[in-house]
Amino acid sequence: MRYSALRILLEGIRGHTGWKPVWRDPAPQPDYDYIIVGGGGHGLATAHYLAKIYKKARIAVLEKGWIGGGNVGRNTTIIRSNYLLDGNEPLYEFALKLWEGLEQDLNYNAMVSQRGILNLCHSDAQRDAFRRRGNAMILNGADAELLDQHQVREMAPFLDFENARFPIKGGLLQRRGGTVRHDAVAWGYARSAYSHGVDIIQNCEVTGFKIEKGLVKGVETSRGYIGAKKVGVAVAGSSSRVMAMAGLHLPIESHVLQAFVSEGLKPLIPGVITFGAGHFYISQSDKGGLVFGGDIDGYNSYAQRGNLPVVEDVLEGGMALMPMIGRARLLRMWGGLMDMSMDGSPFIDKTPIEGLYFNGGWCYGGFKATPASGYAFAHLLATDAPHETATELRLDRFRAGAMIDEKGAGAQPNLH
């Protein structure tokens, strides 16, 4: 069923009796050509592009819980492509271009809102770094504008410009950045993948891989054995656990990242704003809640909940940036599991096991990359060659000395 304004009108007249479930709940077939492990944003996007762009058939997405129940439902919904390094920026800019056409591609309202992302700077050195980053973005086809303090004041007069320790000197603005309704991304991709013949199998946990002579044959699941010619794993947060079942040891630690939402307020924050002195980023949802977050907790965790010191740190960052939010009440907070890689950049690559492919290590930047990650992973699965925007996201880049370390922090996952 194609969605349109006319359809809504017709269904309104008919008392909304004509809406149908948008994907069925199939029993797994004995074998598939392609199995995607993980029914999150990246896995569903992979299935969508594999079926729609690369014209592959006999595809299944296996999800241990319900689709969209992991990190795609737990993030702060920000999209942007303001990276510095050549290994990263083309992929994120590709993602941003796909976001711009996503709703037409999927025929689904994902509420893509390019309300802009503003990174604030608080010193001359930081402005220099932003100028360099902005130029790198422009060289990769993205948009970037360097704002002075006056221009930032016009956009966001409520910020604490005269903060004694961290006065706001200006900012780097990417107008094409913004926010997207995260759940709709998972649902939109699932609906589209299903309409292109993909089986979306929920409550089906992968419990092992069948590997013979270095070649993957299929997966053991909680719903029985399923054969496959190619298996792609996109389970960021739990990558180490899943890939360990195939005997692989990854350059990844799992960490917990917390996010927060306040009570609903009148329109207040024009776009996404990030604090350059601490780690704090904030936007306002269409319902009015202030959505914000900060650093990861900093130690290995699979708990999907964090601890209070980071809550305090995030809120201190918020108060330093915009003291007015001290009057808003916090409504909810939650945690999600991050694949923190050794250089802070992701992986989309083959593995030493033939027919087994890996997508993970997204640190806490996975949501914005969802369309490009799915596209590039589908390209890799379909053609056995990396997509042109993902040639450097290799699993062996540490051995080769080709790290993509945006922060220059070294092999210390909790610092990325």
Partner: protein
């Protein structure tokens, strides 16, 4: 989280800095034939278990000792804390 420091008693985890998996104590032999591979694995690869995890914490805002903390990564429950040098000695390191 509260870390029960072997010398100082229960301390708030905020006083500590986290380094990572205690396998970092087992530094490979730099003169071995497989040193290149060993150091790659030592520096970049992690077990990253969901469950009991031995890890290094540094008491930066305290007595500046290194601790090996055994903690469950699913619940954050800490089951054992010892001084890193004692742990290292037991594993055959001389310091």
């Amino acid at each position: 989280m509260i870390i029960n420091h072997p010398l100082l008693g229960p301390r708030d985890a905020q006083e500590f800095v986290y380094l990572g998996d205690a396998s970092l104590i087992d530094r490979p032999d730099a003169s071995g034939e497989t040193a290149l591979d060993d150091f790659h694995d030592y520096l970049y690869l992690r077990d990253n278990p969901a469950g009991s995890h031995k890890e290094l914490w540094f008491h930066e805002q305290g007595d500046r000792s290194w601790l090996v903390v055994t903690r469950d990564t699913r619940t954050h429950e800490i089951t054992h804390v010892e001084l890193a040098f004692e742990y290292a000695k037991r594993r055959g390191r001389d310091k």
